[in-house]
């Protein structure tokens, strides 16, 4: 594993944030570790948290492996990530307000018009709409990778309904339950207040017509959805109702929720349903999951929808290339977190380069997710590369390519003991009246030796993520 940044070991010495964890792991006999691992698994099973992260599909009842070895950031490291993530979340929202308004960034020639207006995720139904507080994306999940002590890259942005935050909370809860001493010995910044900040964020974007304390609900597609656990978990922790489309209805200028005490007006809907399904009168007419008439109420200012319909145009992989440009254009700042250099296969020169270097690159579908439909050149056979080349040539506009990044590793419990495994990180930035970020996120780990793919559908696991208080 040389050539990869190891977040714990610098040669033979232990990097400061991991100092106490070194003692912890050395003092833990193998039997105890196995016992604890079994205990953790039993806890996860009992909680029922078995869904696939990020809507990756797969077996919904499969437990995602939990690795007990925490991933640790110093306060100083986090401070930079915090500024960088918030900066990005601000710029993405400014972009959304702009492209559904006057489109200044397009007029200024800083991003191609077709990439915005011919994007599948662009919803012309909300053109001209400025949501409360000018926020389209209220929960921004930024996927980060690290390649060195100070080198972080943004892999992708998630502006619609990023999932996985329940793992951040549960991983912490379970670690605290199993290893209380660790939390006494290390000063670890709390993440438990995430649901409260989320609730406050959602309440802060209540529509103008709302008077008094806003009623917030979570709208779920239902229990068959792979992330249903997370929907009910967040509703519980926020103290808000979890509803399905059939629990809501439109009457007059508002959306109402059926309750045992009669209809109750709903002001803010945190929806975990895709745009296409939220209102059969505006989008897909065959959708049974949404609320007929919802978009008319939204567009006339009677209810807030989080994330706002149309937010997806900011997070596709082709638009991603232009996020540093958005930061300069809207904020007048230089990006704190870098993008991964990206080749747009829709451009002839880029395509030529990509085809010549296919075996070294990672190639992804513009709208793909979950690690499906991608090629990791260095980890693929010649036959796989050849097959992918055909698909790429057939539809170049559907693909982007990036260099294979040397993802950092952190120590991970494996069969033989402890070994370095590659990780990424998704923090969840909350945007309402204020922009807030809890110190932590979801660390995903590629459990297979040498693997750079951390997706749970491809054998990835999760870890607790610590930020040490200074």
């Amino acid at each position: 594993m040389t050539g990869y940044f190891n977040e714990m070991y610098d040669g033979a010495s232990v990097r400061p944030p991991y100092a106490r964890l070194g003692d912890w792991v050395n003092a833990m006999p193998a039997e105890l570790r196995q016992m604890k691992q079994a205990e953790a698994e039993a806890l996860f099973r009992r909680i029922g948290i078995t869904f696939a992260v990020y809507g990756e599909g797969g077996d919904p009842d499969r437990l995602i492996p939990f690795d007990m070895f925490p991933r640790v950031f110093t306060g100083a490291e986090w401070a930079r990530l915090d500024r960088g993530v918030k900066q990005r979340a601000r710029a993405l929202n400014a972009f959304l307000v702009d492209v559904y308004g006057r489109g200044e960034i397009v007029r200024a020639g800083r991003i191609p018009a077709r990439l915005v207006y011919q994007n599948d995720a662009y919803e012309k139904a909300v053109a001209g709409i400025v949501p409360p507080k000018g926020v389209y994306s209220h929960i921004v999940g930024i996927d980060l990778v690290r390649t060195g002590p100070d080198e972080f890259f943004v892999l992708e942005d998630n502006c619609r309904t990023p999932s996985g935050v329940s793992y951040m909370l549960e991983n912490r809860e379970i670690m605290m339950r199993m290893f209380p001493a660790l939390f006494r010995e290390n000063r670890i910044a709390p993440v438990e207040n995430y649901p409260e900040i989320l609730r406050r964020t959602l309440a802060s974007v209540a529509p103008k017509k709302c008077n008094g304390e806003p009623t917030v609900v979570i709208l779920t597609p239902g229990h068959f959805n792979s992330a249903y656990y997370e929907h009910s978990f967040l509703a519980d922790l926020m103290g808000v109702e979890l509803v399905e489309g059939q629990d809501l209805f439109v009457e007059g200028e508002f959306v109402w929720m059926r309750t045992t005490e009669g209809p109750r007006r709903v002001d803010v809907i945190y929806r975990r349903i895709d745009d296409a399904f939220i209102d059969p009168l505006c989008f897909r007419p065959d959708s049974m999951l949404g609320v007929p008439g919802l978009m008319d109420v939204y567009r006339s200012g009677g209810v807030s929808i989080c994330s706002a319909p149309g937010a997806g145009v900011a997070d596709d992989k082709a638009v991603y290339t232009y996020v540093p440009e958005m930061i300069r254009f809207y904020l007048g700042e230089e990006p704190i977190l870098n993008n991964v250099p990206t080749w747009q296969c829709s451009k002839a020169d880029d395509l030529k380069y990509v085809l010549e270097h296919l075996a070294e690159l990672v190639v992804k579908e513009v709208h793909g997710s979950g690690g499906y439909g991608m090629l990791v050149g260095p980890k693929s056979t010649a036959a796989q590369v050849a097959a992918f080349r055909e698909r790429l040539i057939a539809d170049p506009g559907n693909y982007i390519a990036q260099p294979t990044l040397a993802l950092s590793t952190t120590p991970t419990f494996v069969e033989e003991g402890i070994a370095p495994r590659h990780v990424d990180l998704r923090p969840y930035c909350l945007v309402g009246e204020r922009v807030e970020l809890v110190p932590g996120g979801l660390t995903r780990v590629a459990l297979t030796e040498g693997s750079l793919v951390v997706n749970s559908s491809q054998g990835g696991g999760v870890k607790d993520t610590w930020v040490l208080a200074e």
């Binding site: 077709r114 012309k124 053109a127 209805f249 439109v250 009168l281």
Partner: protein, 269 residues
């Protein structure tokens, strides 16, 4: 011209439904080609929702009706003064980029026959003359015949059949325009159909094509013309479904049936 409209849509349910929710695009567009003198939309026992003008410039109004009910009536009456702008949508305020109207939708997807039709008619440049040729080509290829196509018929199916109504003409024109790289959209409205040489029902549909320098220009293949002062424009969309003057759903098990009558006439001064 001064046109009067009386448009009645009655919905019947064979079993009582709990409620009906509708979204209307039933108000004449605001542009230099038409001036509303009076206009009224009523819905039996209906509660109006919030109204707004969307990014495409259409006035949208939500309605809800609480049941149980077995019948509702949506009635549109009014008078509009119209002017012949040779199809040009002059003075219409909208914020949606024309590029949004290049993507196809299911009913407007161009198959090889539509692409072929577009290629033969289009010529070298995307000019106004080319758009006229596209409209004529659609009119030649699809003969106006009521009753042979359905609401869900696609442009490709109508072309294969060689027959259809205004909806099929509009879908086919949109398909060939977009296939030629011209933004195009579906327009719903009214036509004074009793007039000499006017084909089709008073509830009418046509297409608009974006011409650089001119903006949106209407084309009606059904009548082989551009909309003039016999036309009243209501709203637009990617296809018939999106531009529908009334979209609605009922909550409940009742089967819906529909009765529509539209009269568009020269109004008494």
């Amino acid at each position: 011209m001064l046109l009067s409209v009386d448009h009645v849509t009655r919905y019947f349910y064979d079993q009582p439904v709990r409620a009906v929710v509708q979204s209307h695009r039933l108000t004449p567009s605001v542009f230099e080609g038409q001036k509303v003198l009076d206009w009224q939309v009523t819905v039996t026992d209906g509660l109006p929702g919030g109204a707004f003008r969307d990014g495409a410039g259409d006035r949208v109004q939500g309605w809800s009706v609480q049941g149980p009910l077995t019948e509702i009536e949506v009635r549109v009456t009014g008078r509009v003064e119209t002017f012949d702008l040779a199809g040009v949508l002059r003075g219409h305020r909208e914020s949606v980029s024309p590029l949004c109207y290049l993507d196809d939708t299911m009913p407007t997807r161009a198959d090889t026959a539509l692409v072929e039709l577009a290629r033969n008619a289009m010529g070298e440049e995307a000019t106004l003359a080319a758009a006229h040729r596209l409209s004529d080509a659609v009119a030649d290829a699809i003969r106006w015949t009521p009753g042979v196509t359905e609401a869900c018929t696609t442009a490709a199916e109508a072309l294969a059949l060689g027959e259809g109504v205004c909806q099929d003409h509009a879908h086919a024109l949109i398909a060939v325009a977009r296939a030629s790289g011209l933004p195009a959209r579906y327009v719903s409205g009214y036509l004074m159909s009793g007039s000499e040489g006017a084909t089709g029902d008073a509830a009418h549909a046509w297409a608009e094509i974006w011409i650089e320098g001119l903006g949106w220009v209407g084309f009606d293949p059904t009548n082989r013309c551009c909309p003039d002062d016999r036309y009243i424009r209501l709203g637009s969309g990617m296809d018939a479904q999106e531009a529908a003057p009334i979209r609605g759903v009922a909550r409940g098990a009742g089967q819906e049936s529909l009765d529509v009558s539209v009269a568009v006439q020269l109004a008494e001064q």
